[in-house]
């Protein structure tokens, strides 16, 4: 595997204007204003954080995994990566990263994909799609399943080989690692703190993550 580069932030948690811990299996939907810094802390290590972003003023202008990786010619996200929308806008820029790389190919788990991937009987395990659907149903933004597309998986490791193989590998994150982004425009963030128990994306032990915002 390539060498991972770690970059630290100069921001201190005590100066944050928002500080919230999301338990595994729960969702979080929140506005982030242009210019704010947004940090996700992997409190206990190797916890996948399934994340979508939307232009706060136009929900069809939303995070696009394919545009993001193609425009940067890289499938991994890390410091310097611009998170690009379907309309070609930079929603946020990753400005600090003590994990080293993050996935955007693996998508979110769902009842149906768990059935396909693991066993027909896995249908009733909790999953990220259900968390996303409940969050948008309870929100006042008017979103629905049509708005749920291909997400980022912060702290998740999905290497691709030159021959075109793809696997969910053991994580490269650890306790206290974080990723920090600067919002380049007003965005709405939608997070599912992943409850997956069938693969190593959460080291088989889903744990809480901490979310911080600075003005």
């Amino acid at each position: 595997m390539s060498t991972l580069i770690y970059t630290e932030s100069q921001l201190h948690p005590e100066d944050a204007v928002y500080d919230y811990t999301v338990l595994s299996g729960e969702a979080w939907m929140h506005e982030i204003a242009a210019g704010q810094s947004f940090r996700i802390v992997d409190l206990e290590g190797n916890q996948a954080v399934d994340t979508l972003f939307y232009n706060a003023h136009d929900r069809t202008d939303r995070y696009s995994a394919q545009d993001t990786i193609r425009e940067q010619s890289s499938i991994y996200l890390t410091t310097g990566t611009k998170l690009i929308s379907s309309e070609g806008h930079v929603l946020l820029t990753i400005v600090a990263d003590t994990c080293g790389r993050h996935d955007t190919l693996g998508g979110a788990c769902s009842a149906e994909s768990n059935q396909v991937r693991y066993a027909i009987e896995k249908k009733h395990m909790h999953n990220c799609r259900d968390s996303f659907l409940l969050a948008v149903a309870n929100s006042t933004y008017g979103y629905s399943k049509r708005d749920i597309t291909h997400n980022i998986n912060f702290f998740m490791n999905v290497p691709v080989t030159p021959e075109g193989g793809l696997t969910f590998a053991d994580g490269v994150s650890d306790k206290g690692r974080y990723v920090e982004m600067r919002a380049e425009m007003d965005v709405i963030a939608l997070i599912s703190n992943c409850p997956q128990l069938n693969n190593p994306c959460n080291a088989y032990n889903p744990t809480p993550v901490r979310l911080l915002l600075w003005d």
Binding site: R59, T60, S110
Partner: protein, 255 residues
């Protein structure tokens, strides 16, 4: 990579040549097969797929790739919806690699690469981009921007190196390269023949493709797409369950 079977003429429903830079959509019925054939080298066909009867049940490339542990598409792979259904199987392929990663061109990308080209000036030779073509063709079915999903680029190859960098590989498809999509449920196909967004050729020269559709057979119990991996077998079980009430005989995986 597998040879493509001859299409029995009595089963052929229609054939059509699609010029480069064009768009096309079609409701492919269950167990009908659509063959895309490259007429020249360097072809590219951008594709989005939807359950014809419920477009919210739509192509999900992350689910497709992780279920089959692949970052490329070829014979034996299935194209999964986000509801765990097999929309189409790739039942034959002489090309060996189709790109599920790089997405599609936008107006800004085509303008930056090939310069400004308006209809006013260039008439029907004006430059087309895949985003606009997808939106036009989706609009014909009552769909729009909110329904855009990650797309496949048939005939194109993008590899990923050890550092995660993406590389477009030239010459992936020869003239007469073809790929077969067998529908396992009624599938709305939204296609265009715009240039691949990472094609390094400085000339705007999108390539034509030939399309043929025929009545194929229901996949057998030992169908290579069904048996390629346990994940595919389970996806077929979930898909065939949709049709059990309207089917006079049980599907092969249930016998």
């Amino acid at each position: 990579m597998t040879p493509s079977p001859a299409i029995p003429s009595v089963r052929l429903l229609f054939e059509e040549d699609i010029p480069g830079g064009a768009m096309w959509s079609y409701a492919l019925k269950r167990h009908h097969t659509l063959r895309l054939t490259a007429i020249e080298s360097g072809a590219n066909v951008g594709a989005m797929l939807y359950n014809l009867h419920q477009p919210l049940d739509r192509l999900n490339l992350p689910d497709t790739l992780k279920a089959q542990h692949t970052a490329k598409l070829t014979t034996g792979n299935v194209l999964l919806s986000d509801m765990g259904h097999v929309l189409c199987s790739i039942s034959a392929d002489t090309c060996g690699w189709h790109d599920p990663l790089a997405g599609h061109s936008t107006p800004a990308l085509v303008r930056a690469k090939y310069g400004t080209s308006t209809y006013q000036e260039d008439r029907n030779a004006f430059h087309r981009n895949a985003r606009d073509q997808f939106l036009i063709e989706l609009g014909k079915w009552g769909l729009g921007k909110i329904d855009l999903v990650a797309n496949i680029n048939f005939f194109s190859k993008v590899t990923v190196d050890g550092d995660g960098k993406m590389h477009f590989v030239r010459g992936n498809s020869a003239p007469a390269s073809c790929v077969d999509l067998r529908a396992e449920m009624d599938t709305l196909l939204i296609l265009n023949t715009c240039l691949h967004p990472m094609d390094p050729d400085p000339q705007y020269h999108p390539k034509p493709v030939h399309i043929a559709v025929w009545k194929s057979d229901q996949p057998a119990a030992d169908d290579p797409c069904r048996t390629a991996c346990p994940e595919n077998t389970r996806a077929f079980i979930l898909t065939e369950a949709l049709f059990r009430s309207s089917s006079s005989s049980p599907p092969p995986s249930q016998t």
